[in-house]
């Protein structure tokens, strides 16, 4: 399992960047959320859930307690974000909601990159 996490994190960061750029594009063009964007958001979500399972299964990899705590906090919080922003965008149909998907995706990207950073520091 251990080998999965670093590449998986990169995939998630990549997908989050795609989602962020797409949402900004939608907001600029004043387009509302559609199936295509939801699929990208869903892919990010699946990646995050896979990361959650793989990360929790192999927590022993991180030996420092403080870093382990941060890692778990990020793992657990991350999947909430795409679900929350997509839900808001469906409920609140405006370009601002697309902006919120972009901001959420950006946060996911940053946090996932931080996850990878913590993980890699343990070889």
């Amino acid at each position: 399992m251990a080998g999965v996490i670093a590449p998986l994190t990169y995939v998630v960061v990549g997908l989050a960047v795609v989602l962020c750029v797409a949402a900004v594009w939608y907001a600029v063009r004043d387009r509302l959320i559609d199936d295509r964007l939801l699929v990208v958001a869903a892919l990010v979500e699946v990646g995050l859930l896979a990361l959650l399972v793989a990360g929790l299964a192999d927590l022993g990899h991180i030996t420092d307690d403080a870093e382990k705590a941060t890692f778990v906090a990020y793992l657990v919080s991350l999947p909430v974000i795409p679900v929350g922003t997509s839900f808001l965008a469906i409920k609140e149909k405006s370009r601002w909601a697309m902006g919120s998907i972009a901001v959420g995706a950006f946060a996911v990207g940053v946090m996932a990159a931080r996850l990878a950073q913590i993980w890699m520091s343990y070889g």
């Binding site: 307690d65 403080a66 705590a69 941060t70 778990v72 906090a73 990020y74 657990v76 919080s77 909430v80 974000i81 929350g84 922003t85 808001l88 965008a89 609140e92 149909k93 405006s94 370009r95 601002w96 909601a97 902006g99 919120s100 901001v103 959420g104 946060a107």
Partner: protein, 165 residues
């Protein structure tokens, strides 16, 4: 209830619903920050509280206020008043703790969300309460400008700002 309000109005909300327009963006940013602050403080307090009790209690307090502000933004209505207080507390908190962490670093052996004016979070904790207060003020004004009984919009000349599509 036949509401004449168009489906997509980017202009100021008619009632105290805080979620319309830019509000939705604020909710998300606040929500992410609330999530980060809560996760961090729960683990700080449960795992190694003795290391820096003051900093960790401040983290927990900040987390509670962020969650409260997120809730107020999302709900609007009478929560707007509570939200204004929450944002004001955040602004004072980030300024006081931020300055204190520069002046008396020994009191903060570990970081809080508010340390160094929120530098660890891209200064978002410093900017956010200001945006929150501005937004809540706009919501309040929008509510005051339109009394409880919605006047039927006189056809045409009212919406000078909104261009018809």
């Amino acid at each position: 209830m036949a509401d004449p309000r168009p489906d997509r109005s980017p202009e100021a909300p008619r009632d105290r619903r805080a979620l319309g327009g830019p509000g939705v963006l604020l909710v998300v940013v606040y929500g992410v920050l609330a999530l980060a602050a809560t996760g961090r403080s729960v683990l700080q307090i449960s795992e190694y509280f003795d290391r820096a009790p003051l900093a960790y209690l401040l983290s927990a307090f900040a987390a509670v206020v962020y969650v409260l502000a997120t809730w107020c933004l999302a709900r609007g209505g009478s929560w707007v008043r509570v939200g204004i207080v929450a944002c004001a507390v955040e602004l004072v908190g980030v300024l006081v703790v931020g300055l204190a962490s520069y002046l008396v670093p020994s009191a903060f052996p570990d970081k809080t969300v508010w340390s160094h004016l929120g530098a660890g979070y891209g200064y978002v904790p410093l900017v956010l309460p200001v945006l929150g207060l501005l937004w809540f003020r706009r919501v309040e004004r929008g509510a005051r400008a339109v009394p409880a009984t919605h006047p039927a919009p006189s056809s045409g000349d009212e919406g000078t700002a909104a261009s018809p599509e």
